[in-house]
Symmetry: D2
Subunit: 361 residues, 4 copies
């Protein structure tokens, strides 16, 4: 029997507590910690690229990837989450290593996934048969319940960041999984995918798509499945030029609706110019940050985390967060913010850091 | 250090596993249970009214409710959830007992709550100052972050079912709580609340409310805060008369938008006529059923649970469910279905029960 | 050739104007009246119930209604509209007279229509086969492209107000019409229609309707097709009681979405208590007001129109409007406001009347 | 008195008709033409580029443009519209000529406007101060109630197509106009505008724009105000490549929502490859087509209109329409389709042309 048994000095009340436990009931009045004044289940945490890259390569050497097996994935496992392979309570973060000539076979699942490429080139991810070429800085989407597989026909290995809503989907008990068949998918190695042919003109949509746009029952995930780094880089540069700000950010969106790439996931890139420190903000919801370019530091609830290219760190819900850059820096952010917005639980505020700043190793 | 350490017979791989654990990383390929073919984290479970009522009364006798303390709440604690006071992974269910002359003081929190009255009368719940009278079968809402307090100025105790999205809000790390001040709220004991004066005409809205209707940023919770049992009873009777069906259900909705009462919670009443057995369905998402009238049985994944007035039971995500009634029966249902719909994770299908039916005690 | 020929004293320019006209072109620079500073194509106008009722009865005596013919409808023909049978540039208003034993046969058309009953009882309007009983003060809808017919099986004649978006649909060149077949529709004379069985519980919807609610492609018109006067009367009384105001109004809405009854039409009832004068407002869009109860006056752009039961008057776009009541008064309002809102053209402001008030006969 | 007086042989009925007319009422039963079986108020019509260009140049020579005057605009005046300067019942089409060194001063109005450049270069349109450079094939928007002015600082004249919803706004009596002040707006002649800096990355939005996306009260018109021809050309080419079709079309959309550029106007470009004939379709709503490239013919309700670059023609509501191209052709289309969709009046169907095809001069 799993129900907690509370105890009391009064025999009558103690007897009540015993009977409650036996009946799978719990008295609320002895559980003061249940309703906290603010969020705060997690501490911040950082993983270093040097370690991630080294262990990814060793895994590539030691652990084969073959038909029937799984992805060669090292998942960020937050120490506060009791041994679960999750970066936050809602977000999965990982590095995935695919060696030259390797193939991660097709499957599909309800958790939505995205891939942000860190190193290597010449890999194709097929999403429902559409081949998406991958290069550093590219973002590739494999939305909920789409078939997807990864092919590395070249010789160079690739390492990418995997982001998923798997912890959320699991906590909602909404997990479905289906392995693919044995046969290999054939595909053309074209630099531009079908989805990009249709949706990569800003403000230009295939005519006749209007009905789909209006219907919220369809189009829950982005119609565009690949976002190229040069486009993101150019959008950030234009934002800086036209606003004159020293810190800007772009959000990846469905070109046909402007909504987030997935109903459960938001992705952004934040650019901070050399020497600038951003305003301090709190938001409900957690994030995984991946440093794509530059070096600097992020202060989270008064703790200062220095970072450089490839480092990954977690910002907890309602933590005070700001960034500063040594040289110009680009940070990829994956967050669960659309979930909080959809459920009426989103809050944000500007704040100040605590006076004492701990410097992390 | 919390990260799981995996082991392997090969020294190199074993060393890799040790280094991964030390770096707060986990290899995905040795965790086959992570992606399940279908949902299924919970078993069904039932709590009996006889026990609930008896323990609620004993709590009323033994445990005082006073300023600074908490609600006198006995929460359903599902044995599969490791001692947490939660009915399902997303839903809180409880019985609350408020004795004659007692007062549960004001507070507010981000979890949204509803009250479905089972026994007693003469209680007022104040929501942001609006006094809502409570009688058996009434549904009273206290939406996210609204001030609420319960007053029992009479002598008769009241027992109601408490339903909240607290486990969900906690799993999203979005909990905020604020206790009320010391002063008592004065109020008029009127049978009809302000919210009912504004919103209890079907299809008749205060003019000028249009803007609010169109703006999804407002109106996340229902504008109508009290739904009276006689209205629900009449709506069910009309549905049966006009459709000729032997099982019908109504959904509680915001009269100004038709949306669910809360962005996270759906509430319905299902009426099954004597001798009828409903079709068997599966849905993603969990529910708590409260028997308001009649007796019968519910079959959940081949296990048959008999019930009578006041019993409460849980249907897990993706379980096959159908009901049969001995006499005409009304079941109140609280579910997390709007969450699954908002996040693109809703599925449902008609199905068949397994051949072997276990009869539960 | 229909194009306007402008003239000029300069021979060259005059030749240009001739060639433009010959080419079906017009020079914008000689048409200063095209872009007006504010709306104002119409003046206010009033029709008297005494006249309307008398002429309706005479039509009933003199002009038969039979299969193949048309409705016995007298349409409000605004003198500013060049002989068109339209009350405003977007709205059709009329009185319809259906004698005892008469039948207006089935047809359907894209213009949406509503009926607000002024006198008589015992008539049924069938909408796609659902029989809607009609009594004074009831509002009955026949949405775009629904089959509808009117039956008066009793001996008492009925007079109702007809409101349609016909001028709008015509100006958009979107008119479709289809006459019904020869056979008579049989129906049960029940006091409560199917639509009312389903949708007349405030905030209580048939379960499973959620998908339809979310899908803007369906549900363009109200699911509830009959609104009873006693409900409207009670809603107005509750509004007055709870707000303490001396002028209140309710909007008829789809109970499943809160949207207007038609995508093109808004209907409201305004109650003004004895001796009260309302604030003065301007809105873009036109309205037809039908006095259902009481007497008083409406000031429109400084002109004062006295009214009593059954009178109908038009308020033009952007006119300054306020009402005052001798005794408690109820005014039914039909307007094109949803059109302006949908197209981003809605404006409103509080204003003052001009100092000089003309008293109309 | 403007109301139509009907006549009848029967003295009683004739007296009724006289009294109706005197009372500003009209009998519906003598107006059979009011409800037509299908739309059809307009015939198709074509204007030739040779004529348009010649008359625009002559206007440039003869009619000055100066402060206090109007735009140098030649409006398409459909012969079916009784001398009104309108291309269809809802759409304004025109050619505007701006000579070297000329300036069309600032004003704003509720009608929304767009400019599609046909000839010339080096002009800037300022929209609320944002300078938009103009070159052939570019589409530039001046949404409802935005300040706009046109500057030609060079020596080359420019001719563009003007498209507005002016007839619609006028028929809704929603016209507001405000002239600008005397002072000249200073601006930088930059090739990329502020709006393009923010919104010209496909699927990449300035972060923090999410709230605006969700709020239908804002963002009624496109946030992107300039669409460049090379982008449209590339999008069409990608569509042809990836679909293999010989006729494709793109719709101009708000990059932040996917909605049409204006709540009242849709703009598209249709590309038809040499020798291809498109399927025949009917839609409710009217359109103005502007030939940007190539030559061919369009068949409208059995009449065949040959066209070449710069020609403009009108397709009426519910007309059967198909296109064929001699060489590869691009046609710009302006339509009122969003109006019909917003008001629940949109229909479309595939059809066949009538057997006999008239060849127009």
């Amino acid at each position: 029997m799993a129900t907690t048994r509370f105890h009391d000095d009064t025999p009558d009340v103690d007897g009540l507590y015993a009977d409650l436990a036996a009946a799978d009931l719990q008295p609320l009045w002895v559980q003061p910690g249940l309703l906290t004044l603010t969020p705060g289940r997690l501490t911040p945490h950082i993983w270093r690229w040097k370690t991630l890259r080294d262990l990814a390569e060793r895994s590539g050497d030691l652990v084969g990837i073959d038909r029937g097996g799984d992805r060669r994935v090292l998942s960020l496992s937050h120490p506060d989450l009791g041994g679960l392979p999750f970066a936050t309570h809602t977000l999965w973060g990982a590095v995935q290593f695919l060696g030259g000539g390797e193939l991660a076979p097709a499957h599909r699942h309800t958790p939505a996934a995205l891939r942000f490429v860190l190193e290597g080139s010449g890999v194709w991810t097929l999403v429902n048969g559409d081949p998406l070429h991958m290069a550093p800085g590219d973002l590739v989407l494999t939305p909920s319940w789409t078939w997807h597989e990864h092919h590395n026909p070249g010789t160079e290995p690739m390492i990418w960041f995997d982001g998923l809503d798997l912890p959320l989907v699991r906590s909602l008990d909404a997990m479905f999984f289906e392995p693919g068949g044995e046969e290999l998918t054939s595909y053309e190695r074209t630099p531009v995918s079908h989805t990009e042919h249709l949706y990569s003109g800003a403000g230009l949509l295939p005519a006749g798509e209007q009905a789909a746009v209006e219907d919220p029952a369809s189009g829950r995930s982005s119609r565009l499945l690949a976002y190229r780094w040069p486009s993101v880089d150019a959008a950030l540069a234009r934002l800086i030029e036209t606003t004159g700000r020293r810190a800007v950010s772009v959000r990846y969106a469905d070109p046909a609706t402007g909504r987030d790439i997935m109903p459960t996931l938001r992705a952004e890139v934040h650019r901070v110019l050399a020497g600038h420190r951003t305003r301090t903000v709190r938001t409900v919801g957690s994030g995984i940050w991946v440093v794509f370019r530059g070096s600097g530091a992020t202060v989270i609830d008064g703790r200062r985390f220095r970072w450089t290219m490839g480092d990954m760190f977690v910002t907890p819900s309602w933590a005070a967060v700001d960034h500063e850059a040594d040289g110009d820096a680009d940070l990829f952010l994956l967050s669960d913010r659309p979930v909080l917005e959809a459920l009426g639980l989103a809050r944000a505020e500007q704040t100040r850091q605590q006076d004492f700043l701990a410097e992390e190793a």
